[in-house]
Point group: C2
DNA sequence: TGGTAGTAGTTACTTTTGTAACCAACAAGG
DNA sequence: CCTTGTTGGTTACAAAAGTAACTACTACCA
């Protein structure tokens, strides 16, 4: 029990690793597009998985709906995203990337991939597989449309 | 490139896993002691690694000094922590756990260990080793006194 | 129909965090 | 000593996130 250490405590370790690995990338979307992390996530969901509503983004990303609402607003102000009312349920607003948003997404995806590759660079193939698998199990993702 | 997915993007994956794994535990220190995560971290550093100053905690945990300052204040208000002025440098304040804080720490460490064991439960010994090692490398910890 | 319950999304209000300026103490050179 | 620069820590103000209440709509069932 005396050997219990923050360096082995998963919530702490994960948080520190998350902080450390996101610094470089968040700087980029902030500098280039004035976006927050929440905005980047919304942008990514729309860019990668196609048009969807705020609550679908919420289900996939586990972000709180107010965060999403505010991010969508910010992205609309930047003319990155537009919403159209769903015909069969007028509460739902289907969100789409506008050309500007698409360009930002295309730009950032390249950066993200490079960043990810750099982070993985020091790991062996086996380590990568285990790491990703363990993290996905811990994160307990909801199913995505593919 | 089309297969780039948030589920393989390390900063996102780490963040989601960190969120998911910390929910249960944070609820406990919040409910039992009204503490925030920042306060729990300060408490842990003092309880596990012994008396130290705010800036030492900052170096180890990478928390910003204002967060630490505010957490220390909150812990002092709870009579969990007290500070004494260093004799050789009167700017530094050496922080110590008070009996109340020690009890909270002892209580929470047990909970944390159990929580950690639960999180690790579904992983094999090999997976655990790889996971911890990779995370520690990503987190790029500062050296601790031992 | 109409009443009740539930869902999508926004807004108002509060708490927490981030940033920058600040004060007090040390350090080193002239 | 007296400046100039640096460090430990706090405070004030601004930005972001959390919580709860709210509007508008749909769904179901009597």
């Amino acid at each position: 029990m005396r050997d219990f250490d923050l360096r082995n405590f998963l919530p702490y370790l994960l948080n520190q690793a998350a902080e450390e690995t996101s610094i470089g990338f968040s700087q980029i979307y902030k500098d280039r597009y004035g976006m927050l992390r929440t905005e980047w996530r919304v942008l990514f969901h729309l860019g990668r998985y196609g048009d969807m509503t705020a609550s679908e983004i919420g289900r996939l990303s586990k972000m709180h709906k107010t965060k999403i609402s505010r991010s969508v607003r910010a992205l609309e102000d930047k003319r990155f995203v537009a919403g159209r009312e769903s015909t069969d349920d007028r509460r739902r607003e289907i969100l789409t990337l506008l050309p500007q948003g698409r360009r930002a997404f295309d730009d950032l995806v390249v950066v993200a991939e490079k960043h990810n590759a750099d982070l993985m660079a020091s790991f062996s193939t086996g380590e990568r597989a285990v790491l990703i698998d363990c993290l996905q199990r811990l994160a307990a993702f909801e199913g995505l449309p593919d």
